[in-house]
């Protein structure tokens, strides 16, 4: 996990400083071993239950989901904008087991500003979906914002960065 954050950090620095693609290659790209993969929802449920001063933003997405991919730039922008704030983004990929190496890894390597991604493979949606939010029916993308006991669940995709930042700001106040 730290290795991954470290990698993302370096990618970010390269992009921000506008270094050429050739030099970027000096950093080893992500591999599947850098991404936490959970078979069971119960093993990652702690991600939804941190109780501290940080505001957590948990987005459920997948590379095959068009509206999910369309809203990613807003999350990438927010990830950078709130870098120095008590805010943590966790992107939960619901990509298919067979496509983690062929699709998800190259996708993440092409997006240096993506916040930390974990993978959930649990197929028993009827059991775990309600544990994220009662009002969630299972369509993605969805996003859960929480800070301690304060929660806000958004059951549809975002149309702009401002929609996300407005919610984050309401948590930081």
């Amino acid at each position: 996990m730290f290795k991954k954050l470290f990698l993302f950090g370096w990618f970010g620095i390269f992009v921000l400083s506008g270094v050429s693609g050739q030099e970027e290659l000096k950093n080893p790209p992500l591999t599947i071993d850098d991404i936490p993969v959970y078979q069971q929802f119960d093993d990652m449920q702690y991600v939804l239950e941190y109780n501290n001063d940080t505001t957590y933003i948990i987005n459920f997405w997948a590379t095959w989901c068009k509206p999910c991919v369309e809203e990613l730039p807003y999350f990438e922008k927010a990830y950078r904008a709130y870098e120095n704030k008590p805010v943590k983004f966790i992107m939960v990929s619901l990509d298919f087991k067979k496509q983690l190496e062929s699709k998800l890894v190259p996708f993440l390597n092409a997006r240096p500003d993506m916040p930390s991604t974990i993978v959930l493979l649990d197929q028993d949606g009827n059991t775990w979906i309600p544990k994220v939010a009662d009002e969630w029916d299972g369509a993605i993308p969805v996003t859960l914002f929480y800070n301690g006991n304060k929660r806000k669940f958004i059951g549809h995709s975002f149309e702009s960065y401002d929609e996300i930042s407005t919610i984050i700001d309401s948590f930081l106040r």
């Binding site: 095959w64 989901c65 068009k66 509206p67 619901l94 298919f96 087991k97 197929q123 028993d124 949606g125 009827n126 059991t127 979906i129 309600p130 969630w136 029916d137 299972g138 369509a139 993605i140 993308p141 806000k152 958004i154 059951g155 549809h156 995709s157 149309e159 401002d162 929609e163 407005t166 919610i167 700001d169 309401s170 106040r173």
Partner: protein, 210 residues
Amino acid sequence: MKKFIPLFVGLLAVSAFLVSATISNNDPATNASDKVSVGDKAPDFTLKNVDGKMVSLSDYSDKNGAVIIFTCNHCPYAKMYEDRIIELNATYAPKGYPVIAINPNDPEVQPEDGFEEMKERAKEKGFDFPYLFDEGQKVYPEYGAQRTPHVFLLDDKMTIRYIGAIDNNPQEPDAVTEKYLENAIMALENGKSPSPESTKAIGCSIKYKK
């Protein structure tokens, strides 16, 4: 300091309002106040089938029931269930529970889900059940369908008896341990109420213009 508190509370209220106001949601299904629940009568519809003929739910009133499945071409989850849907129809249409598939997506948003593309897919896969196009997206909001695939099981009185998933393992058909839909049909066959009467599952959101 004290006199600032009302101002602060006011600001909070305004910001809360702004949050709710800026999160627009045009989803016709979310905004429909009359979407159905288990126990409700299934809304009738007349939609165009891939063979060019119109199909109405009322055409099925002499059956033991019907399995309405909102599904589509493009969604990987819909694709994963195609063979299972074909099999379900093969097994349960003869028992009086035929499948009626409906594509709820707006092809302007998702071109793979256009009517011509639906015809091609139905031919390729050999769908032997109607694959209807919810042109103008009037039907899926009445049902409150949220994703593809999304199943609504009806009984002989066209009452909705089960809403949700086909089974509990989209990616690995061989690892399924709960066949929700088949169990629900069996319950109806035995004069019982399906349990569970609704289930959730990961799927693709229904595509509409924003």
